[in-house]
Structure formats: C-alpha cells, structure tokens
Amino acid sequence: MATKASRTAARMMISPSVILLLGWMIIPLSMTIYFSFLRYNLITPTGNPFVGWENYYWFVTDPSFKAAMINTLLLVGGILLITVIGGILLSLLLDRPMFGQGVIRIMVIAPFFVMPTVSALVWKNMFMNPVNGIFGQMATGMGFEPVDFFGQIPLLSIIFIASWQWLPFATLILFTAMQSLDQEQLEAAEMDGASWSSRFWFIILPHLARAITVVILIETIFLLSVFAEILVTTNGGPGTATTNLTYLIYVSSLLQFDVGMGSAGGVIAIILANIVAIFLMRMIGKNLDA
C-alpha cells in the first residue's frame, strides 16, 4: 500500500502536468467565453461592446449549424467504421503466414506518416481531379464519364481520404493486439470443430475488444477536429456539404473575422466535445478496467 510520503511525492510528480494542462485549458477557454459575449469583429473595430447571448443566438440559428453537426457525426462515424472494420480485416490478413510480411507491413502503414495537408493535396490533384487525375484519366480512357469527386460526392471523398490516413493506425494497433492472441486456444477450438466465423466472433473479436476501444478513442480525438483535409479540398462546400463544426468555427472567426461568433461556436463545440468525451471515457474506462 502506498504510504503518505509516497502519496505526497506522487502528487508533486503529477502537479506539473496538471497545472500546465489546466492553464492551457483555462486561460484560452476563459478568454473564449469572454469573447463570446462581445461584439468582436476583427475588421470592424468598434470597441467590442457586451452583447449578451446574441452571438450564441446567431451561431445556433445559422442554417449551416445543423448541417455542420450532421457532417461532423457522419465524418467521425464513417471514418471510424471504415478504419475499424478495415483494420480488423487487414490485421487478420497480415497475421497469416506469407512471404515478405515486413515489406507488406511497411507499405500498409506508410500513409500514417504522411502529413494531412500533403495527403489531401495529392488525392485532390493527382487522383480525384476529373481532368488530369488518375481516376479521371482511367474513366475517360475506358469511355466513362469521369466522377467529379468533390462536386458529386464531397463528404464521401473526404471520408475516403481521411480513412486512407487512419486505416494504417488502426491496423497497427489491432495487429499488435492480434499477435498476443493465444494460438493454442484457437487451434483447440478448431479441433473441436468450431467454424471460422464462430472462432472469429467468440475468440478473436473479444480479444480485440480493448484494442478496438483504444482505436475508437484516439481516432475520435483527432477526427472531431478534421480540418486540413477540408480546407485543402472543398473549403467546406459545395454549399455546406462538407462543413463540420471545426470548419464552421473557422469560417466564422477567421473568414468572416467575427471573433465573437466564432468564440460562441468554440464554446458550443467544447461542450459537445465534452459530452462525447464523457461518453467515450465511460466506454473505455469500463473496457480498460476489465
């Protein structure tokens, strides 16, 4: 059992991080909350009068707000779905005996190292451009009408690009978890005549449960604020088809320079993020304690 002295020492060891994170959170956050009650537009210096809840009213009644909420959910949900399922399949595959596994693994994880900006630029120009991109040229070459990715299926295209980056991450973690799977247990089950699907559902999947929660948690943290991919490819459009909450706040505070309204949006996003966080923490807390 920990002694009183070691408790004190522990507290001293934790406090630098806690103080830093608290400061990092509270100082900008209180400024953001303060700004959210002001009429504060960077391009019209008016002395920033106090306007009460007005900014919140304008942000929530903005027609883009609803679209942004839905898009955020679709983005996070879609990418999670693709990367988790894809990651499970890939790690199952990579776990099988094969030649040159090292090389193949290197190729699979490579996209994770690529900057989001670069990957968005490359997909947008070299692949998804309907005239000069590879997909467009292949379609034209085969006599089809090329798909206008960012015009016709904008959100799906962004989900695809982000999934390309995050699939390797999910695969890495799931593959690591897969390797600690008890092979004898699997073989025993096979001897007993358990089919492949029941082996998957009753042995492999439960074994991966924790790893899957970890993937979901980490990816959600990063995906809630997907930004570079949208900025580079569609600028949130056409219309509001690819505007997520982060991008909407960016539009308010840095394209319209309405810091007041952007801050109101920021506060709303922080509240929503915390709801998601609590939900996720519950889930992961349960799973990690098990």
């Binding site: 960077l42 947008k124 005239v131 206008d148 015009g151 904008p154 569609t234 394209l255 319209q256």
Partner: protein, 440 residues
C-alpha cells in the same frame, strides 16, 4: 601600408559596418501568382543593392487573407509588407492598419502620377494612398482563334450578349471527346473566386447586391436569371469538376488547350500569351466580357498591391522595397529578364506606352482600354449605395460573398436548386446585415 591606404581601409571598414548596421530583415506575405513569383526571382537584386534580406511567406490566396487579416487586426507585427487587393486596401486603410504612402508623391523618380488614377483611387481611403499596385486587372473574354476558325465563328468586335450569343458560341465549340470544353469559368466557392465571375454576370443581368436601403436583393428575378444561366452554361459546356476550379485552375486548363473560351482577369493575358509558359500562346485572343440587359459592371476591377502594416517595425526599409517593386525600373527589369510579354499590366501609363511592350504584347492596348473603362462607382443597372464591381466595399461582404459563393457552388454541383441556393443566400445576407446594424 601608407597613411592613405590605411585611411581608405578604415573608411571601407566603417562603411561596411554602417551597411551592416543598416541592413534589415523584412518579411513579405504574398500569393503564388505568376507575377509575384517573378518578383521573388528578381528580389535578390534589391537585397544585394541595399544589403537587406527578405523572408518570403508564400500562401494560397484565402490563407494569405486570413493570416494577414488576423495579424494586422491584432497588431501582431509578423509581416513588414503584405500583398492585398482593391477590396482590403480602403477598408484596412480606414481602420488605421496600414502605413499611408502619401510621401511617394514627393519622389520625382518614382512618379506616382504615372500610375493610373483609377487604380490609385481604388487603393486609397479618405484621400490617403495605402498601397501601390504591382498589377491591376479587369475581366475580358479569352478565346481560341484556331477553334473559332474551325467552328466557323467570327470573333465579335462589339460587346456580345451572354444569352444567347455567348451560350451558342460555347455550344458550337464544346467538344469533350477531344478534350475541349466550350467554356471554362470559375466554380470554386469564394468571394474572390466564383463570385468574381458571377458578380459581373449578375450585374449584366440587371441584378444588384443591395438596394439603396441596404436590403439584400439575392432573391430577385434578376439574380435567378443570372444564376440559372450560369448553371446551364457550366453544366452543358463546362469542364467536369468545375466546382474545384478557381482562377489558377482555369488558367492551367486554358494554357493546356482545354478551353475554347474563358472570361477572366486581363492580368492572366501575359502568361497565356507567353510561349514559354503556355501551349496556346499563338492562338489566343481577346474580346470584351459579354453583357445582357446592361453593360454596367460587366468587367470587374481588381488590383494586387503592396502595403505596409502599421505594426511593422521597419517601415523605411519596407517603403524602399515598395518603391523598388512598383517602379518604372522594376517593370523594365521584368521586360529585360522575363521578356516584355511577361510585364505586369494595368498600373503605369508609361509602361503601357512603351514600344517594347506594345511590340511583344499588342494586346496590352486592349487591356489598358478595358481597365480604364471600368467604373466601380456605378457598377449596376439600378442605383446602389455601394462601390465595387465584383465586390461590395464593406467589411461584411467577404462573409456574405463566401456564403453565397458556396451556395452557388452547391447549385452548380447539382446538390441544390438555384432557387434554394438563392433563398439561403438571401436569408444569410439579411442575417449578416441585421447583425452588422445596416438593417434596423
């Protein structure tokens, strides 16, 4: 070493020390348009002559605007020189964010009067000059002489109508099987992108942004007619993926020989007609941007100019660079090193009258005439309370313009109808104008 030699060495040392002390490091924020890239290439000459050094920050247009506005509005002081446009200069100048450049008028060598009056006015507020232009532009129609000949179309000499003249032209020229699109126009959302084309188009159809009481007019039949025309034109005779195409994308397409017509900036003409950079240099010519019910405001006005944030600590050095980069000598230097066809257009009368320019770029006369005929104070058929052709010179416009641009891009992509797009736009504009206190 004799005394004289020692003295000389000492003076040399002192002068070296003096230059070293004088030499400053300045930071310039710019976009990567062709003319700015040339300026970056030539800038080492200024650095050598003055002993100063330059840090270039090159950004995409929207990002540049965001970064510079953020910095200048918060007095961040990150930049000593910024590239801004005809929209920002008067608004920022009036906010006291820019260093006035009125003393440029006293420099006889610089000859401020030589810069077109229209351009200087566009970069001034309350009688003070806040930026000096690298180039200015209006819009006109780029067309391919070879394709016109092949299709048996006579190039117009007078201003034609959008509907039906221009539409019919695009229809005849459209040949996607062979990789030729009837027309390429901007579709990428943004007040400086698709709205730069759509603004003058709407003007031509008799539309306006606001009535005399600042009430938004986006749900008017005129706007509907203009946007319906735009969507029809682009869907039938435009390239695929037009919602991703801004000025630079279209310029690349046109130079690559994929477009038969293109209504866009006159400033792109020198690049398109430059055989070193373009595959259609010999077969491109120009005519006026079309009109419809009115010819008011059918060609836009824009200028890319250099300005000094009031927060800069190195105003004198920055001013020196501004003078260098927009001087007669600079344009001459571009002519000598890059070819006269590459000289930025639309700023100085003396440059436009230079026989070397007229010989290399005969279209420069057309450009000068087109620019000087723009009247930003009377941009529409009906009277309006604002100035600006493709933009409205109020701070709220960029927010509204971006939103409307997005809505129209959605209509172009087929994600919503023209009616819905304009209804949403109207609603947004009313909200913004109410918020800003124009509508009580």
């Amino acid at each position: 070493m004799n005394l004289r030699g020692a003295l000389c060495a000492a003076t040399a040392l002192v002068s070296v020390a003096a230059t070293a002390a004088m030499s400053e490091e300045i930071t310039i924020a710019t976009v990567n348009n062709a003319d700015m890239i040339v300026m970056q290439k030539l800038a080492p000459q200024w650095e050598e002559a003055t002993g100063n050094t330059i840090n270039w920050v090159v950004l995409e247009e929207n990002v540049l605007r965001q970064r510079t506005t953020q910095d200048i509005a918060t007095n961040g002081g990150s930049f000593d020189i910024i590239f801004i446009g005809a929209y920002e200069a008067p608004i920022w100048g009036a906010n006291g964010w820019l260093t006035p450049l009125d003393d440029f008028a006293d420099d006889a060598d610089y000859d401020l009067e030589d810069i077109f009056q229209l351009v200087r006015n566009g970069l001034s507020a309350d009688g003070h000059l806040y930026a000096v232009p690298l180039y200015s532009e209006t819009s006109f129609t780029f067309y391919r002489t070879d394709l016109f000949e092949k299709a048996g179309i006579e190039a117009p000499t007078e201003q034609i109508l959008y509907d039906p003249d221009f539409m019919e032209m695009a229809a005849k020229l459209h040949d996607p099987e062979n990789g030729i699109y009837g027309t390429c126009q901007r579709g990428k959302a943004g007040w400086g992108e698709n709205m730069a084309f759509i603004g003058p188009l709407a003007n031509a159809f008799g539309a306006r942004w606001f009535d005399m009481d600042w009430q938004p007019q986006l749900d008017s039949p005129e706007w509907n007619a203009a946007i319906t025309y735009y969507v029809d034109l682009m869907t039938n005779y435009g390239p695929p993926g037009a919602t991703a195409n801004g000025h630079n994308e279209n310029r690349a397409l046109f130079k690559d020989g994929k477009c038969a017509t293109w209504v866009d900036a006159t400033s792109a003409a020198n690049d398109v007609r430059n055989p070193n950079t373009s595959s259609v240099a010999d077969v491109t010519d120009f005519f006026k941007a079309p009109m419809q019910v009115t010819s008011n405001g059918t060609g836009w006005f824009w200028s890319w100019a250099l300005a000094i944030p009031a927060s800069s600590q190195k105003i004198d050095v920055a001013k020196d660079f501004l003078k260098w980069g927009t001087s007669k000598e600079y344009f001459e230097m571009v002519g000598e090193t890059e070819g006269w066809v590459a000289v930025p257009s639309g700023t100085r009368a003396s440059v436009h009258d230079d026989p070397r320019l007229l010989e290399a770029a005969p279209f420069a006369a057309t450009i000068k005439e087109a620019i000087l005929s723009v009247d930003p104070a009377n941009p529409t058929k009906d009277p309006v309370p604002y100035t600006g052709v493709q933009f409205v010179a109020i701070p709220e416009f960029q927010g509204i313009g971006n939103y409307v641009g997005q809505q129209i891009a959605a209509a172009l992509a087929g994600q919503s109808s023209v009616e819905d797009a304009l209804a949403n736009s109207q609603q947004f504009a009313v909200r913004e104008m109410t918020k800003a206190g124009y509508i009580k």
